[in-house]
Amino acid sequence: MKIYLKIWRQKSPKDKGRFEMYPLDGVSPEMSFLEMLDYLNKTLIKEGKEPVVFESDCREGICGTCGLYINGRPHGNLRKTTTCELYMREFADGETITVEPWRAGAFPVVKDLVVDRHAFEKIMQAGGFITVNAGAAPDANTIPIPRDSFDKAFEAATCIGCGACVAACKNASAMLFVAAKVSHLALLPQGKPEAARRAKAMVAKMDELGFGSCTNTGACEAECPKGISIANIARLNREFLKANLKE
């Protein structure tokens, strides 16, 4: 099949950037979206042009590296799918496909389709952990965990940190990302002692980094490749309020 790619090209963070159109022939429906981009790049290299820079690593939907805004949606049109899990059979012959980087003030573009998600690191550093040193842990079966809260913690823990929630949110809010971590740890007995401090620290860092706030549109959940529920955001709000009311 032949497709037309409209791709954001930007040489450096300071460059203004622009869209460029690339017609691409010989695309197979069996290619993954990223393999299609590999193929485009090979073609560009052979033509003596600069390949399009995009990121990926595991290519099986778990590392969270890849993330492209494809035809107006993060990770493309399928639910619960990362970009690397998207296949060209989802597209029509002759289709024009618009490919953009994540857009958010807190995620500046590094080059072409690559953005800097360091803001997520900063949020995690602020409190996305349980304080325990290696060697200090009790036997793993010392504390039973009720199945219900365990299941919810697990669901929240599946976040891959790709940033699709921020990309999808009209407010470029990181609430689902923060909520997933706060929920994961607050729901486990091991994480409870620090729950209040964690919620406050992570939210404060998120605010400081220029993410928007949540207006409950649910776009994040709909676009999250792991389908993490916005019920976690309610839990974050609750944890955050509880923490503040203690003061």
């Binding site: 857009r103 207006t215 019920a231 839990r235 003061e247």
Partner: protein
């Protein structure tokens, strides 16, 4: 606590709490308004209006309500501006309809429209009833108590000004959309939500918004059809 309201969640908390307050107010307001259509003599509505005008509790609530509106509007504006700034460069191609509802993305626009009608509305009724008076606001005596004939003021407007009635209904529909998202969203923001209740609350949201929108629409419709 100061820190709380300086945080993004704290600001939204104010929007949500004031919103919940306004949600309650709408129920009271609609209940009184519905008296318009159950008694064409106007006695029932006038009694209701009189009660609202004279009851000391309501007197206390009135300024609170004003504060509620101000907080809701002010903080919604702050939140919206900050959220807008969080994405300085937008997408060339964006399909938000694939992942979220129109009303959830346009709460501020809806709120603006509602506010516009609200000002009109206040001008037509509240200001007249409370401050300036109006030739239609004669005094009537019901069950031996003298009170203003609010019914006459309200019903005349609906009976005589067709376009006002239409505008009123459109307003009610916009309000409904605002509430479809606003109702459950308020619960979500204050943290009263979870994996099970999220769907339930959203359903209640739709029911509540429909009742409010339909309730407010019925009144002008009633006057258009029957008078």
């Amino acid at each position: 606590m100061n820190k709380l309201f300086a945080s993004s969640i704290g600001r939204k908390l104010l929007v949500a709490l004031s919103g919940m307050f306004l949600i309650l107010f709408l129920v009271v307001h609609l209940s009184i308004n519905l008296l318009l259509i159950f008694d064409d003599s106007g006695a029932l509505f006038n009694k209701g209006a009189h009660f609202m005008a004279t009851n000391p509790m309501v007197g206390v609530m009135e300024p609170l309500l004003a504060v509620g509106f101000v907080v809701h509007i002010m903080y919604a504006t702050i939140v919206t501006i900050r959220n807008y700034r969080a994405r300085p460069n937008g997408y060339l191609k964006n399909l938000p309809s694939a992942n979220s509802s129109w009303e959830s993305r346009n709460m501020f626009v809806l709120g603006g429209i509602i506010l516009f009608f609200l000002i009109l509305h206040l001008n037509h009724f509240f200001v007249k009833m409370k401050f300036t008076g109006d030739p239609l606001l004669t005094t009537v005596i019901i069950d031996g108590v003298a009170m203003k004939n609010s019914y006459l003021l309200v019903s005349s407007l609906f009976k005589e000004n067709f376009w006002y009635s239409i505008g009123y209904m459109i307003w009610a529909v916009f309000l409904g959309f605002h509430l479809v998202h606003g109702f459950w969203s308020a619960f979500q923001t204050v943290g009263l939500n979870n994996e099970v209740w999220i769907q339930r609350l959203q359903n209640v949201s739709i029911i509540y918004a429909t009742i409010i929108a339909a309730g407010f629409c019925i009144i002008p419709l009633y006057f258009i059809i029957f008078f």
